[in-house]
Amino acid sequence: MLSTIFAILFYLATTVFIVGLVYRIRLYARTPAPLKIPTTPAPVTRQGVVLRMFKEVALFESLFKANKWTWLFGWVFHAAMLLVVLRHLRYFTEPVWIWVNWIQPFGKYAGFAMLAGLLALWGRRFLVERIRYISGPSDHLVLMLLIGIAASGLMMKYAVHTDIVALKAFTLGLIYFNWQPLPADPLLLVHLSLVLILMFIFPLSKLLHAPGVFFSPGRNQVDNPREKRHLAPWVTALETNRSKAGGEK
């Protein structure tokens, strides 16, 4: 019964996560960017923009300029989470990919860095007056959710072990539609439930910053408005109408 509920919830959550993100990304991609608005100085070539985006996404360059503490906590959290997520691929693959094995030693400890980063980020929301002012209930809840995921995961890894072999059978069963029982271990159920919530809210919340950053015109546009005419759909439409009207004369 429990296994069935979780299996169904995981399918649902995956669907919401993927469909929601695809819908959002399509919306961003299809909405026109009528004017050239890169924050300058900006790269003057496409390759330059790729480098700028890489520095932004991988190193949080702008945040580094803004505030070193926020950068440190934020970057440590994100980098550690990436390692942790990649490490978790071992529970979804059989045989486990070789590079997933390579990062295992680092991924194991990255959970602590992730938790530390999250706690520091949460602390700012109480301790810094300006950040306290701008923090709403959802800002706290998202952090609590992530802290809950990290903490429950670490406890399973280092304190109260779960039956990891059975869990892997369950996840592989989900992938290959050959359902297997889920270990009814309270800590594991908490961990998985929080992950489910995260997947459900991802496309509906500020977590959209993850795909959104790639579509930010302030960062992804090439600074070349004089060299190459950037077209705005509404201006082009006007011009087409005008040339039509001119042609009929």
Binding site: L35, G48, S216
Partner: protein, 500 residues
């Protein structure tokens, strides 16, 4: 200054403690029905303004990827919270960029997102009420759209785009700003922000020609409406009469004279400024850039050069080709448009200007990067040319130049406090307070390095500083046009004066 005390400049840069609501009542005069209707907006607040506002908001979200992505993407990390000069000057938390954005974002959430429709309290979504509209009107007119916050945002969220959208929505429900909308109407009708008609413009410039000849002994011309001239100069109309702007105009005229090029001003397009950017209206912005295109076509010029004006350069550099291009009827050997600094720097590099730096020896200069030039445009071929070229010119015409603190110049430059359509007397309090970060940086180089003057390349910056600096105990003559320095140093053929 009689009547009020000089504001003490604190040279220690401090982040203020929060002072909620302190600037709540700082809002500009509302546009009169005539000013609104001249731009095709409702004369006054319409009865069903909530519905119309949401409808317009929905349209804007569909038309602007920036707005859509910026509404979704903020994680409230707080990187921007101490970056806005209006927040630093007032301590009002709604002047923190993220909080300013949230005035619009909370409405976005309520009407356009699943979470905000069903769990409004949880995600900070709110109904569009009269109180919210009042906050919009106050706080979106306490943003100079300078983009400083966007430099520091990890997602590049640009509050300028958001305040433009908010103003566009307010215009469409009948709550426009008098200052901007009245001025845009004047450009449509007469051709410039001042409402200076052709005849008056010609007379003004003839007088100026006489002044230059009296002083230098050289007949430097400032031609108007000359068909077949090579260069059309489009400059802010403040250059025609205001101080220190007019000294910059004299500088351009001398540079053109020395270069031996034929050039002209157009009375039809006698305005570089494009206040339509401030109100976020692309349609209005295009109507104004179309005037420049038409003037260039009618006069048969080969090149377009813009005078010293910050947001005008952003519009000209970044938007004009999109809105009124292609400019394939102009000489393809030159960028369209060019900045006067690019033109002057080119001549200096070629050694074609006869310059005597010692003419500026009575001054120690610093340079104020104007926000729209710094973060919304470029000069020259490589990124950052907008910082290097003006400084290179100053160093070529002055012996003594000192930069202000690194985190207050270049891409980190502070707005003068009067940009974005705020350069109006009814917003004097926010203008004064918003200037304080720049005043702090200036005071530091005055005390440490004996800086006497600050040069700028923006008509708004110049007007703002000339008005605000006396309140901080700094003489209004301490702000100078960049081309005023060029004008001082340049020695024209046959020049006989001024006599030292």
């Amino acid at each position: 200054m009689a009547g009020h005390d000089t504001i003490q400049i604190n040279t220690l840069f401090e982040i203020p403690t929060l002072n909620p609501g302190v600037m709540k009542d700082s809002s500009p005069f509302v546009a009169a029905p005539a000013h609104q209707q001249a731009l095709g907006f409702p004369g006054e607040l319409v009865d069903d303004w909530q519905a119309r506002a949401i409808e317009k908001f929905s349209e804007l979200l569909k038309e602007s990827r920036a707005l859509q992505v910026y509404m979704d993407g903020c994680v409230k990390c707080g990187a921007c919270t101490d970056k806005c000069h209006y927040f630093l000057g007032t301590g009002d938390p709604k002047n923190m960029p993220v909080a300013r954005q949230d005035l619009l974002r909370k409405i976005y959430r309520r009407y356009f997102t699943f979470a905000g429709k069903y769990f409004p309290k949880l995600v900070g979504a709110e109904d569009l009420t009269k109180e919210v509209l009042d906050d919009w009107y106050s706080y979106f007119h306490q943003c100079s759209q300078c983009r400083r916050c966007s430099v520091y945002c990890p997602y590049g969220i640009d509050t300028a785009e958001i305040s433009m959208a908010a103003r566009e929505i307010m215009d469409h429900i009948g709550k426009g700003q008098k200052y901007c909308n009245e001025i845009i109407g004047k450009v449509h009708k007469i051709g410039n922000n001042l409402g200076l008609p052709e005849k008056a413009l010609i007379n003004t410039l003839e007088d100026l020609e006489e002044d230059i000849e009296d002083e230098t002994g050289v007949a430097v011309r400032i031609p108007v409406n000359i068909k077949g001239a090579d260069i059309l100069l489009v400059t802010p109309s403040a250059d025609f009469f205001a101080e220190p702007h007019i000294d910059g105009l004299i500088g351009y005229a001398k540079v053109f004279h020395a270069a031996g090029v034929s050039w002209t001003v157009s009375s039809y397009a006698s305005e570089a400024a494009n206040f339509a950017m401030f109100i976020g209206s692309q349609e209005q912005m295009k109507m104004l850039t179309d005037r420049i295109r038409k003037a260039a076509e009618d006069l048969g010029v080969k090149r377009i050069i813009f005078g010293e004006c910050g947001h005008a350069w952003r519009v000209a550099y970044s938007f004009m080709n999109t809105l009124s291009g292609p400019f394939d009827f102009l000489d393809p050997n030159y960028p369209v448009p060019q900045h006067i600094c690019e033109f002057t720097w080119d001549l200096i590099q070629k050694g074609e200007l006869n310059l005597d730096k010692s003419k500026n020896d009575h001054m120690t200069l610093t340079f104020h990067d104007s926000c729209n030039v710094a973060r919304g445009s470029r000069m020259g071929d490589s990124p950052g040319g907008q910082f290097e070229i003006p400084r290179a010119i100053i160093k070529a015409v002055c012996h003594s130049f000192v930069d202000m603190a690194a985190d207050t110049i270049g891409e980190a430059t502070f707005c003068c406090g009067g940009g974005g359509g705020l350069l109006t007397d009814d917003l004097m309090e926010i203008r004064t307070k918003g200037a304080s970060p720049r005043m702090t940086a200036l005071q530091e180089v005055v005390e440490e390095h004996g800086v006497t003057h600050m040069a700028a390349i923006c008509a708004i910056c110049k007007t703002q500083f000339a008005k605000i600096m006396p309140q901080y105990g700094i003489g209004m003559d301490r702000i100078v046009s960049l081309h005023q320095l060029v004008s001082n140093a340049i020695i024209l053929d046959g020049q006989t004066g001024p006599h030292d």
